[in-house]
């Protein structure tokens, strides 16, 4: 329960803070949250230090074997205390650093969210939960760095941070998945106990690689060190909290946590040590040459993280203890140094070391605190940094085996030590001494007391740990190291004095040489003359990003979404391949036409006529009206073919649809350009021709082959049951309105919707464009004569549809064309009978009602019933409920056709409103 509170409290606080307006209230809430967490952790201290592991678990994803477990042991406790403790101090600091900024509540919300995420990483008892919170820390860090967006530095920093840590997060996901599989469970306790199994697994190298990618990206180790310097664009409280003490330590935490599982192998030793050593030296040297105050501190953080990584890479128990110790120490002095740097920046208005000089005069209190902290960073005796540096030097000297690393380690340690002293000296000297300040935007003075208080607290801690380490830090350190080792704790001593030995000599040498190097570099301010150094690796990163983005643009442009011809060609090609490959691939016998079979002569004539017109249509492609007429002729040929093949219903439908379509297209052609854009190059034309021939010919061949097969088909059943099951002798109509009535329902919906779209798109004007038809009285008179007959014929066709060729669709088309004629004759679409939308709604409603009627009776939708009632005058007539459905179809067809044609005839002109 306590664990759950610790984890959830910062998130609840973050959500509340996002809504607050007042800075004071936000500060109070955020501070209270941090303090409560700290208090809860303090409560658990005794139990945890004694070696207990507290756990609480909730089942979450049983299918994956994942449960939401929270687990705290001494190592997690240590990190959690760091997170919440430094968090509380940073909140206090930020209150004064960002005094007056109205975004303060949002800032605190993000800080609390980050705290929650970091606590989640530390307290996670399940690998998946760990990966989840890891990603959340990346996200929170991104948002905090981007806090000052759209400032360019903030944007670039945030981008770099997210790209690198995001990549790490993804690598961690892969590592977690593979690790879970290798260990047999995602539960952390199980995984930690399965060390030997994991190390023996064939996937171990992959797991290690992905794991180290995640760790190195988050902790800014080589080759990912560049993002930390860019991240200095964040507000200083963020740098003090995330980028010195907590976020970057997440990778270290992971290394320590999984040391029992993944560590101890040669691969671990070489990979981790090498990366750590390179980072240690790289960061140290880079820090000396920085001109940005925060940049110096950033690179020194990188260097110290490299130190800790190197220690973990050494893989000896004492080295692990030293690593844990340095984590604590580094967090304390680095956070205070960042805060001090923030104070200087806040007071002076600039962070440039070349301009900020002689601050000791203006802010002696801050200066003394900063000097003590910098001394701790350099490894001056009587401070905590000295103790952990000593342990580091001791480990480097004591390293055995693994030549040549063992030989180079002490040398590297010495160099790094010297560099550390050099940049610490630079920090102290160049900021607080070294003459008078140059061109400062503001006159500096001492900051408010409460702003310096957090720095003081941390510096005090540095001093206390440095002077009397065992009472202060002995117990938690031992417990945490024990937890990290997963085994027995080695013997070590935190005493200040071990006698005159190697490490002491190295420390002394490092101090002297570091100061010396700095003095040499600063002679005649030569250091200041050096041009601004480029953060190493960042340029390559930006170049990579730019290349990727450019290739993205090129790829996208290649897609050519605007070129319809190309898209159609690709589609046609895909279809040709999909169908052609199996057919030509073998095992398929093509059926050749058998010329001995009797083919009716009429059929041949119709086929030839149709083919001639089809080819003529392609050749007349620049005269749209001609093409249309030729296609009409092709349609006529098809209708005749249907009639010849004993499908009168289809023939009738084809004829009517032909008329309506030609009418529609003629009206639409007014608005279309006459010529299609020409294709110039011969190569392209040949290619398109080839694809077209393959597609069209292939389709023809497919149709031929498919029609030659005569398997037992569902149509046999439908033909057999049309009369007995559905009460109609016109099997086509029965199929349309009964067997597959649901398809028809869908199709009339499509028709209705299409008409609505065209109407809405074209018919913008409310008044009819043409007035009442002027002049001749012939057309209106003829229409008045013919219309009733047309309606009669339509009704006749509809009524007989179920048993003879006809049906709702054909009748609807006929009626529609008549209505259109009426509308044209009367000159506007306000013709009394043409209220198309009503027809549509009525038709759809009728179709739905007919289907729903069977629902009410307990049968599925669209079940039809039929009978032969005897009516007084007409005698016995076959009546089927599907006739009502057909009526709905009729209404929809009328409405849609009228809408379409009238929209094209009377719609607004292009370009006119």
């Amino acid at each position: 329960m306590t664990l759950l509170t610790i984890c959830l409290l910062p998130w609840c606080a973050a959500l509340l803070l996002a809504r607050l307006r007042s800075a004071t209230a936000a500060f109070a809430l955020a501070g209270a949250c941090a303090l409560v967490v700290l208090g809860l952790l303090g409560q658990m201290a005794q139990a945890v230090w004694a070696g207990q592991t507290l756990q609480s678990s909730v089942a979450w994803l049983p299918a994956l074997g994942v449960s939401a477990t929270l687990r705290i042991d001494a190592l997690a406790w240590l990190f959690a205390t760091l997170v919440s403790g430094i968090g509380a101090l940073v909140i206090l600091y930020a209150r004064y650093y960002m005094d007056g900024d109205e975004r303060l509540p949002r800032f605190f919300a993000l800080l609390c969210a980050f705290m929650g995420a970091m606590l989640g990483v530390v307290l996670a008892g399940d690998l998946v939960l760990l990966a989840m919170f890891w990603e959340l820390t990346s996200l929170a860090s991104f948002l905090l760095i981007a806090f000052n967006a759209p400032d360019r530095g903030a944007v670039r920093g945030a981008r770099a941070a997210l790209a690198v840590t995001g990549m790490g997060g993804l690598a961690l996901m892969a590592a977690v998945v593979m690790l879970g599989r290798a260990a047999g469970s995602f539960d952390l306790a199980t995984v930690l106990a399965a060390g030997d199994v994991v190390r023996a697994d064939p996937r171990y190298p992959w797991i290690l690689t992905c794991f180290l990618l995640a760790v190195f990206s988050k902790s800014a180790q080589f080759p990912f060190q560049f993002w930390l310097a860019r991240a200095m664009a964040a507000p200083t409280p963020v740098s003090a909290y995330l980028h010195s003490a907590t976020l970057v330590k997440a990778g270290i935490f992971l290394l320590l946590r999984f040391y029992p599982v993944l560590g101890g192998t040669d691969a671990w030793f070489f990979a981790v040590s090498t990366a750590g050593a390179i980072t240690l030296l790289l960061g140290g040297v880079a820090a000396v040459f920085q001109h940005d105050l925060k940049g110096l501190l950033a690179y020194s953080t990188v260097s110290h993280l490299g130190l800790i990584t190197l220690l973990i890479g050494f893989s000896t128990p004492t080295a692990i203890v030293a690593a844990v110790f340095h984590v604590i120490n580094h967090a304390t002095f680095k956070a205070s140094l960042f805060m001090a740097a923030g104070i200087v920046d806040h007071e002076c208005g600039t962070r440039d070391l070349r301009n900020v000089n002689g601050m000791w005069r203006y802010m002696p209190l801050t200066g003394s605190l900063a000097i003590v902290a910098a001394a701790a960073m350099a490894g001056v005796p009587l401070l905590n940094g000295f103790l952990s540096k000593e342990m580091f030097f001791g480990e480097a000297l004591a390293l055995e085996g693994h030549d040549p690393i063992a030989l180079l380690a002490p040398l590297a340690a010495l160099l790094a030590g010297a560099a550390g002293v050099a940049y610490s000296a630079r920090f102290v000297h160049d900021v607080f001494f070294n003459g008078a300040p140059i061109n400062l935007p503001r006159t500096p003075h001492e900051p408010p007391l409460w702003m310096a208080a957090p720095v003081a607290v941390l510096v005090l801690l540095c001093l206390l740990v440095g002077l009397i380490p065992t009472p202060i830090i002995g117990a938690p350190l031992a417990a945490a190291a024990h937890a990290a080792l997963g085994g027995s704790l080695p013997s070590y001593s935190l005493a200040l004095w071990h006698g005159f030995n190697g490490p002491l000599a190295m420390s002394a040498l490092a101090l002297v040489s570091g100061v010396g190097i700095y003095a040499v570099l600063m002679r005649k301010r030569a250091l200041h003359q050096r041009p601004l150094p480029d953060p190493w690796g960042y340029r390559q990163f930006e170049r990579l990003l730019l290349t990727l983005a450019r290739s993205g643009v090129v790829l996208v442009r290649q897609l050519r979404g605007d070129r319809m011809r190309l898209q159609m060609a690709v589609l046609a090609l895909a279809a040709v391949l999909a169908a052609g490959w199996p057919l030509l691939g073998g095992g398929f016998e093509a059926h050749l036409p058998e010329l001995t079979a009797a083919i009716p002569q009429g059929g041949i004539i119709v086929w030839v006529v149709g083919a001639v017109f089809a080819i003529a249509a392609t050749s007349a492609r620049n005269q749209p009206v001609t093409v249309l007429l030729f296609l009409g002729a092709v349609g006529l040929a098809v209708a005749l073919a249907f009639a010849g093949l004993s499908a009168p219903d289809l023939s009738l439908t084809q004829l009517f649809v032909e008329v309506a379509t030609v009418l529609l297209l003629l009206l639409a052609l007014q608005r279309l350009p006459v010529e299609a854009p020409p294709v110039r190059s011969l190569g392209k034309r040949l290619r398109y021709a080839a694809i077209a021939v393959a597609g069209g010919g292939g389709t023809g061949w497919l149709a031929w082959e498919a029609m030659l097969r005569k398997p037992p088909a569902i149509s046999d059943y439908q033909l057999a049951n049309a009369v007995s099951g559905a009460g109609g002798t016109n099997a086509v109509n029965v199929i349309i309105v009964d067997f597959r009535g649901f398809d028809t329902l869908g199709e009339i919906t499509v028709l209705a919707a299409a008409a609505l779209i065209v109407w809405a798109f074209l018919a913008r004007e409310r008044a009819g464009v043409l007035g009442r038809f002027q002049g001749s009285f012939m057309l209106p008179t003829a229409v008045k004569i013919v219309m009733p007959f047309a309606a009669l014929v339509a009704v006749h066709l509809y009524l007989r549809g179920h048993n003879l060729p006809g049906g709702g669709f054909v009748a609807g088309l006929l009626l529609a064309i008549g209505l259109v004629l009426e509308a044209l004759a009367l000159g506007s679409w306000r013709s009394p009978h043409a209220r198309p939308v009503r027809w549509l709604a009525a038709g759809l409603g009728l179709a739905l009602l007919t289907g729903a009627a069977s629902l009410a009776l307990g049968y599925p939708f669209l079940t039809s019933a039929f009978g032969h009632p005897v009516l007084p005058v007409l005698g016995e007539i076959p009546l089927a409920s599907a006739a009502l459905f057909d009526l709905g179809v009729l209404a929809v067809v009328v409405g849609a056709t009228v809408m379409l044609i009238l929209a094209f005839a009377f719609g607004r002109e292009e370009g006119k409103k």
């Binding site: 996002a18 299918a63 994956l64 990603e135 948002l143 981007a146 945030a158 981008r159 997210l162 790209a163 995001g166 996901m173 892969a174 998945v177 599989r181 983005a549 993205g552 643009v553 996208v556 979404g561 319809m564 190309l566 898209q567 690709v570 589609l571 046609a572 895909a574 279809a575 169908a579 199996p582 691939g585 398929f588 389709t699 498919a706 029609m707 097969r709 398997p711 088909a713 569902i714 059943y717 099951g725 597959r740 009535g741 649901f742 398809d743 869908g746 919906t749 919707a753 609505l756 779209i757 109407w759 939308v837 009503r838 709604a841 409603g845 629902l855 009776l857 049968y859 599925p860 079940t863």
Partner: protein
């Protein structure tokens, strides 16, 4: 014969009928179209939820339309996957509808009828168990989408919409050809019956059947915007109104769903023709292309478009992989990614109208959901997919593709997200509610991940045994009398 029992018996067809009813009523009474539309949407949402609950009970509901036995009539099949997809559709479309009403973007002509026609088409496509019926519902869905794409369109948007119409008409023609070939060679149109008959065809006819199935898969690949048929998606979704694009995020999922059904039901009939391999390659290519596209994006709409493409590629990749764990992850990913992508489009709409000022939290939520960051269900789905894929060394390369594509998308999203300014007015309450509904859906799925994962695992097991499907559909007897 109470209303309740009628509803329960006919539950499977309600998600198709209710939107049609709503559209008809909205057409008949245009003044009252808003309340009609909202009520109808709620009803469809309720029906979809009820179907999921029914399916979770282990029932494969088969509904025979017209009371004709399959394969002679049309059957609907509401099993685990269909019901799940229905719920995802309902969730997304409900949110988009509330948003449109809230932002007064539904005042275009016939917006509500066309919206519900789209809904009807998508539901029908997910529920149907018949090839030609699938074609019909594809048409219904497409025509609804044409209408939405043309809402309030002018200039470039009109051209983009018309090109969208053109390419889909070609796709529909291809669908008809495929259906014709399949019918000609086997004599039936029902999925289940085809699954029975295709393997029984004489060897001489088998290549023809494979050709038909191949054509059908080309149609589905077009719908899912798989490489190399992806060109239409960016140019359409990037230029039409973002609200319409938000409603379209599910349409690509239809293609992936179709491919899944095809591969599971008719896999046996295909013999050694490597449909799964082709889908796998297309999916991987699409995923990477989408990553690069996201990196090259300059606006929220563009990045949202590429995220839709990325999710489509991911789905194809996991559905075609032979790992049931990954397929289950894909099913989990389907609703989560659709919801988050829609939310992102809606946020882009807010930005376009300069209403984003105070609501940048939604941008964060939508972007995080799309990118696969916790706590949204997309993260869990990606993790599960990795788990499934890394279990066998043959499939391990897919993990790299998934992670690389994910990284590119994240960086692209970050780049665009950083450019969004925080000036502007406030979004209306309904719009914020709609965004909360959508993002909350992804969160809810994450919290209830346990039951959800159980459901999708059952779904995958069900799909892996097509015999149950075939038995259920072909064995369903017509209703004899009033129950």
């Amino acid at each position: 014969m109470t209303v309740g029992s009628v509803l329960q018996v006919h539950l499977a067809v309600l998600p198709i009928l209710l939107p049609l009813l709503t559209a008809t009523l909205a057409l008949a009474w245009p003044r009252a179209s808003r309340p009609i539309s909202l009520l109808g949407a709620l009803a469809v949402l309720a029906a979809s939820m009820a179907l999921v609950l029914q399916a979770a009970g282990g029932v494969q509901t088969v509904y025979l339309l017209g009371n004709w036995q399959a394969p002679f009539g049309i059957a609907l099949m509401a099993d685990h996957v269909s019901a799940w997809a229905l719920l995802a559709t309902a969730w997304v479309l409900f949110g988009v509808l509330v948003f449109s009403i809230g932002g007064a973007q539904d005042e275009g002509a016939f917006f509500h009828p066309l919206f519900h026609v789209l809904w009807m088409g998508v539901n029908g496509a997910f529920l149907t168990a018949d090839v030609f019926n699938l074609f019909v519902f594809f048409e219904v869905m497409l025509v609804g989408s044409y209408g939405l794409a043309l809402q309030g369109a002018s200039g470039g948007a009109v051209g983009a919409s018309l090109r969208y119409v053109a390419i889909n008409l070609a796709g529909s023609a291809l669908f008809l050809i495929a259906a014709g070939v399949l019918y000609g060679v086997s004599g039936t149109l029902s999925f289940a019956d085809l699954a029975v008959r295709l393997p029984q065809l004489p060897a001489a006819d088998r290549p023809l059947a494979v050709a038909g199935v191949g054509l059908l898969s080309v149609v589905f690949l077009l719908k899912a915007a798989a490489l190399p048929l992806s060109a239409w998606l960016p140019q359409t979704y990037g230029r039409i109104a973002p609200v319409s694009a938000a409603a379209f995020t599910l349409l690509t999922k239809l293609g992936a769903y179709g491919l899944l059904r095809l591969m599971t039901l008719w896999g046996g009939a295909l013999g050694d023709w490597p449909l799964a391999g082709i889908v796998l390659a297309c999916g991987a290519g699409t995923l990477l292309l989408a990553g690069f596209g996201a990196l090259a994006s300059l606006s929220l709409t563009q990045v949202a478009t590429w995220s839709v493409l990325s999710s489509s590629g991911f789905l194809m990749l996991v559905f075609a992989s032979a790992s049931p764990q990954a397929a289950a992850a894909g099913l989990l990913y389907l609703p989560a990614s659709a919801v988050c992508a829609s939310a992102l489009f809606l946020v882009a709409d807010l930005q376009r109208r300069n209403c984003l000022g105070a609501s940048r939290l939604w941008l964060l939520a939508a972007a995080a959901g799309v990118a696969g960051l916790p706590p949204f269900a997309t993260f869990i789905a990606k993790l599960q997919a990795l788990d499934g894929v890394l279990a066998s060394p043959v499939l391990a390369w897919m993990a790299l593709v998934i992670l690389l594509g994910g990284l590119l998308s994240v960086v692209g999203l970050a780049r665009v997200g950083l450019r969004v300014s925080n000036r502007g007015g406030k979004a209306s309450l309904s719009e914020q509610l709609a965004l909360a509904w959508l993002c909350g859906g992804a969160l809810l799925l994450s919290v209830c991940a346990g039951p959800a994962q159980r459901y999708v695992s059952e779904a995958v097991t069900q799909m892996a045994t097509p015999d149950a499907y075939i038995q259920a559909v072909l064995g369903q007897a017509p209703m004899r009398s009033v129950p």
